[in-house]
Symmetry: C2
Subunit: 173 residues, 2 copies
Amino acid sequence: MASVENTQEVDQLVRAKESAFLEFIQSKGLKTTRQRSTIVQVFFRMRGHISVEELLREVKLVNPKIGYATVYRTLHLLVASGLVEERRFGDGLARYEGRSEVEHHDHMICLECGQIFEFFNPRLEALQEKLAEENNFKIYRHRLELYGICKDVESCQHKKEMAARKAHKATGG
Amino acid sequence: MASVENTQEVDQLVRAKESAFLEFIQSKGLKTTRQRSTIVQVFFRMRGHISVEELLREVKLVNPKIGYATVYRTLHLLVASGLVEERRFGDGLARYEGRSEVEHHDHMICLECGQIFEFFNPRLEALQEKLAEENNFKIYRHRLELYGICKDVESCQHKKEMAARKAHKATGG
DNA sequence: TTCAATGCAAATCTTTTGCAATGGG
DNA sequence: CCCATTGCAAAAGATTTGCATTGAA
């Protein structure tokens, strides 16, 4: 689910993110370390909604001495810096997202294949603002997740229909 | 946050919920027990977004012998029966909601006082459906949570403003 | 009588923390 | 040099599970 990429484009993005992180680190009077550098670079080279375990696995390929604690601590710093967002989709473990965090977006989660799609709609955002206003509520942030079945490459909706038909056939005859 | 009520109306609702639960239990070939009955009755007598700990506390007032394990197990059955919904608002512990689950609704969570408000808007629902359709996605369920500051009885927005002003005054002079 | 349910404690899983050793500024 | 950071292991907090005992059907 969380793959690693290597292109010039990615290199550039990783460098930009890392220097933004260093700026944050320094602004707080904290220290730049080999471990933090490794974790940040590996993180931004990954794509998707990354769990701590997934990140640690990749980090260990670069430096096997780095452990859970440092990864957790660095992720917290990344979240504090605003470069990364923490999300929870209900399976009890945090996931971190940093690649496409520039613009806010919402999520569609496929219950069949586990894929997570991102989307954004201005009307939806506006409507939420309007509703909040009507209720004297000031929104700081929000979270919208649609859980269902996607019609992706492998066509989960198709598979689902086939399975249902098969089950019906089995019980019916 | 989770209070207990006693009115004829509530009695009736609790009885209805309990018999629905018994029906589910029996349909699955499971057994009705004193403990399950207690937990279900106490749960539906409570209001709000109930944590396991809150529920256990109330349950123990009725039967102190009942422990965490049984409460967890019964809540899972309640969720499986469709009478109760599990929610997670990001503080790392599950909350259960059963009282007003008849119609779907979304949530506004006040970051100041912790209160959780429920709301529902058909246009919002329709817009989500439309977006999903455009993306060939079939929604089974969704979750929308607005995090911010409420303007409730104690006026969190007012308190927030005062605090900011105070801080400004302190640093400014 | 039979097998699910209970209650306890132990185990699990994710995340955090204490602390001695390390290393950046 | 000073103090933040690391790495390990232990702790913490929420939830699950193993198992002997209890109790519904």
